[in-house]
């Protein structure tokens, strides 16, 4: 097969770096509001019917939304195998916690209202709270750790090894900066969930969601600004010092890396990337304003733009790094040395170009069919409601 030579290795790596971002952002935009709604559930719903209304706003769509996470995992495996290998085993116990939370969630949706007992239902409500809040927090913590760098190195056989005593030990991940990132992520997704609820519900539920969402949005903006300052003054970035080979073999050990200077140098080298943090701030600001004023659809759209801005600002700041190593900077994974082969990237691109538009089309159709507010009446009337 020579078809894959149509697109150069370098360009394919760039495309897959963008697609990695698309998948993570797609996950945060869709499953993100599910997590936000889960975190809001015990607070915006005071009675059983109210809680059922909240759950049923995401009841029909969470399964589809969650596939963004699965697909994200699959795509990282296929397009960035070293990243898949190093990050998931490195964040071992955090991954386990995320999996446990994410397993609780679907089960909670489906099983909560299948029994009448109040105790049964309130237990599942708190399970749903954990299933929403914990991953939202932990994903942010993971991103914070990636910015700080992770203590791993690769052997000559490219086997990932973890150094230091804390690695794989969950508590070691909870460094102050990483926790701050976790707070940003959690509050941003709560805001996103609140924006969803103001579209899909009315009355007290929507009112409470808007009130909590407003506060969450403010916390997110403050935390995001603080994280930016911290990056500017308190955290060392990573920079490649050897010649950059963009179409070489995927072997991270073929380069030299220095762990000093700020990540934010990227903004002097590529000023246009400022657009990402600006979008983040403007999006949060407009979403908060929408929540206060009681706007519905526009608030949700601004909230989406906020997430797009915040997540892409991380990727753009770190480029070309994907996962830096603190103990052996040379082992750091970058766009140019931790991808799949030329052929695999091409095959996967073809599959994505064919299927992603189809997925977006039928997902949009499903949301259209389900359009409209969920009311207490709907929940009481329908047999199939959760």
């Amino acid at each position: 097969m020579i078809l894959h030579d149509l697109i150069s290795f370098e360009v394919l790596r760039l495309i897959w770096w963008v697609l990695l971002g698309v998948l993570l952002i797609g996950f945060a935009l869709t499953d993100g509001f599910d997590m936000g709604v889960g975190a809001l559930l015990p607070f915006v719903g005071q009675t059983d019917v109210e809680r059922r209304v909240v759950i049923n706003t995401i009841g029909p769509v969470w399964e589809g939304n969650q596939v963004w996470f699965i697909l994200g995992g699959g795509a990282i495996f296929a397009a960035w195998p070293p990243l898949y290998a190093v990050s998931f085993s490195g964040f071992y116990l955090a991954m386990f916690a995320i999996l446990a939370a994410l397993i609780l969630r679907p089960v909670g949706f489906k099983y909560r209202s299948k029994r009448d007992s109040a105790k049964w239902r309130s237990s599942w409500d708190w399970a749903l709270f954990v299933g929403g809040a914990a991953p939202a927090l932990l994903f942010g913590v993971a991103v914070g750790n990636v910015l700080l760098g992770v203590p791993f190195h690769l052997t000559e056989d490219l086997m990932p090894m973890y150094d230091g005593t804390f690695y794989g030990k969950f508590l070691g991940l909870l460094r102050p900066f990483a926790l701050l990132c976790g707070v940003v992520s959690l509050s941003m997704l709560i805001m996103h969930g609140a924006a969803w609820l103001s579209v899909k519900t009315k009355g007290m539920v929507a009112f409470r969601a808007q009130r909590i969402g407003t506060v969450a949005g403010m916390i997110a903006a403050a935390g995001y600004a603080l994280a930016g300052l911290w990056l500017a003054f308190g955290i060392d970035g990573f920079h490649i010092t050897s010649e950059i080979v963009t179409d070489g073999p995927s072997n991270p050990l073929f380069k030299e890396v220095l762990h000093e200077g700020s990540w934010l140098i990227a903004y002097t080298e590529r000023p246009w990337i400022l657009i990402a943090p600006i979008l983040g701030f403007v999006g949060i600001f407009m979403a908060v304003r929408g929540l206060r004023e009681g706007f519905e659809v526009s608030t949700f759209l601004w909230s989406k733009l906020a997430i797009l801005g915040v997540i892409s600002s991380v990727g753009l700041t770190m480029f070309p790094f994907i996962l830096p190593s603190t103990v052996d900077p040379r082992s750091s994974l970058t766009v140019w040395d931790s991808s799949s082969s030329h052929l695999t990237l091409f095959v996967m691109l073809v599959a994505t170009v064919i299927f992603l538009p189809i997925i977006l089309a039928y997902t949009a159709w499903v949301y259209k069919v389900l359009w409209g507010k969920v009311t207490e009446d709907d929940v009481n009337r329908s047999h199939s409601a959760y």
Binding site: F77, S87, V107, S340, F355, S382
Partner: protein
């Protein structure tokens, strides 16, 4: 077995995979049965078929959600617990997993919500299409997962790249149309269809024994019996196809399943039963059927099937060749672009044996320094545990034949003695409900345990594939999964039983009215088949 990270990782993977597969087969089959029922509803307009769709759909939903939830673990566990494996073969193995997400899992997960929530929001035809999309999505999902799994057994379309220290894809179509993967796919989905058919058959039989929901049960039985019979025949035929392809792609697994210690003159006999003894390399009290193994394995009377002893000798030769390949690899790594052409050529000639040298890494860091004794031990390692394979295979096959008998019996009863099921047959059907799960789990043990000591046959040993974790990490997550999964299992079983006991809850009045209106016709119908008895609304 000592409790090191590799063994614990294997245990965890086996546990989570076998647990995941408690839910998958029912999803595969029930999604199709439900879609068939809804199709009958759309075509005839009879409310009872809608009631059936919703009732079995509810049970499908309870099961589906755990299949999805436990599937999340599977997608991430390769990276979490098998990081060197993920690095070494991710270039090939990751692709079908990602395509599965793109093509199949998105489809089933997006539409399954609409299936449950869309009854009032969609037209009949549109809702029926949604049901089929869920079924198609689930089954395509199985296809891509088994393409990935099949590649681990028969790693085609890939070669080793010394500069990136991993396998890289050379031909995507070879990976997709891998004969092992295709046989596995049909065999596995058929097993899912049997599971669902026997589940529907058993639950319906229970209703008939209790005299409840008889009309729903009768119709469900007739659908499940014919679908189940077709699936049982397919599973045995495709199991045979797997056996045939195993004879040239997985010789060691086949020899171990048959406890065939020495090569026999063709055509080899089939050992019906016996007690394999791995130490002594012989099978005690064996009962043989002449010729059968040779016919299944080679479809000829003259070709030999190699025995375990011969295969161990082959492995030893490949280990020695792999050691030379490893030596060349080290030269290439040191000299990179300056490597002499002769070394590269010599490496390429032997790179397919490199994995065999990796078997030595269990005993010595540098395979080139292995002693004669270590080479012998590594060669012996290529024999998987014979007795577990021998037994799980025989249990699986025995159950497979029992499914043909059971579904065949109900197929005959539903077509020729409609409505008149003897109590013993109904009781038998209820008792048979758990057995397809046992057969399916045995199937996975044969497939995965039989591939040992490799994660990817001939390429990467299991002992080398695991992540750099501590025993403590593993014990923690293993206990966590065990506890968590046990609770979920109890909750799931509780809800399943509750909803089976409750019976159909929806469209009850509508169905009753329709029943009464056509009572006369229903009572006098005369075996023209379930679809032809009563006029549509």
């Amino acid at each position: 077995m000592e409790l090191d990270v590799v063994e614990l990782s294997r245990l965890q993977f086996a546990m989570t995979a076998l647990y995941h597969f408690l839910f998958v087969p029912l999803t595969l089959g029930l999604s199709i049965l439900v879609a068939i029922m809804e199709t009958v509803y759309v075509m005839t307009g009879r409310p009872i078929w809608r009631q059936m769709t919703k009732f079995w759909g509810t049970l499908f939903g309870i099961n589906f959600v755990l299949g999805v939830a436990t599937g999340i673990t599977m997608e991430f566990q390769f990276g979490m617990n098998w990081s060197y494996y993920s690095h070494y073969v991710g270039d090939i193995f990751g692709a079908p997993l990602a395509v599965e997400g793109l093509m199949a899992f998105f489809l089933e997960a997006t539409f399954v919500g609409l299936f449950f929530f869309g009854w009032d929001k969609l037209s009949r035809v549109a809702h029926c299409i949604v049901a089929w999309l869920v079924a198609i999505g689930s089954n395509f999902s199985a296809l891509w997962i088994l393409i990935a799994n099949g590649w681990m057994v028969n790693p085609v379309g890939a070669e080793f790249n010394p500069e990136t220290m991993r396998m890289e894809m050379t031909n995507f179509f070879d990976v997709v149309f891998n004969e092992v993967a295709q046989a596995k796919f049909v065999h596995t989905v058929s097993a899912g269809y049997i599971t669902a058919s026997i589940f529907v058959l058993g639950v319906s039989a229970w209703y008939m024994l209790k005299g409840r929901h008889v009309e729903l049960a009768r119709r469900s039985i007739s659908v499940a019996a014919s679908f189940g019979l077709a699936a049982s025949l397919s599973v045995v035929v495709l199991g045979d196809e797997s056996g045939y392809s195993a004879s040239h792609t997985q010789k060691m697994k086949l020899a171990a399943i048959e406890a065939m210690w020495e090569t026999e003159p063709a055509p080899a006999h089939f050992t019906l039963i016996g007690f394999p003894d791995q130490e002594a390399r012989e099978t005690h009290y064996a009962v043989h059927i002449p010729w059968v193994m040779g016919l299944i394995g080679t479809r000829s009377l003259t070709q030999e099937i190699p025995g375990i002893a011969e295969l161990v000798e082959e492995s030893e030769a490949r280990i020695r060749s792999g050691m030379l390949a490893y030596d060349d690899l080290m030269t290439i790594r040191e000299q990179r672009d300056a490597t002499p052409e002769a070394v590269r050529a010599s490496f390429e000639a032997r790179s397919s044996d490199l994995g065999y040298a990796m078997l030595l890494k269990r005993y010595v860091d540098d395979p080139r320094e292995a002693t004669e004794e270590q080479i012998k031990m590594a060669a012996d390692d290529t024999v998987p545990g014979v007795a577990p394979l021998f037994w799980s295979f025989r249990i699986m096959v025995g159950l497979g034949f029992s499914f043909i008998a059971l579904t065949g019996l109900f197929f005959v009863l539903s077509n020729f003695r409609r409505g008149d099921y003897p109590r013993w047959a109904l009781t038998l059907a209820v008792a048979w409900i758990p057995l397809p799960w046992i057969a399916a789990e045995m199937g996975w043990i044969v497939a995965e345990y039989g591939r040992q000591p490799w994660t990817v046959d001939g390429i990467l040993p299991t002992a080398l594939s695991a992540s750099h974790l501590s025993v403590g990490d593993l014990l923690f997550t293993l206990a966590g999964f065990a506890l968590f999964y046990t609770v979920l299992f109890i909750v799931e079983m509780g809800l399943m039983l509750k909803y089976i006991r409750k019976g159909p809850q929806e469209d009850v009045e509508e169905t009753e009215t329709w029943m009464q209106r056509h009572e006369h016709r229903l009572r006098t119908h005369d075996g023209k088949g379930p679809f032809a008895d009563v006029p549509a609304e």
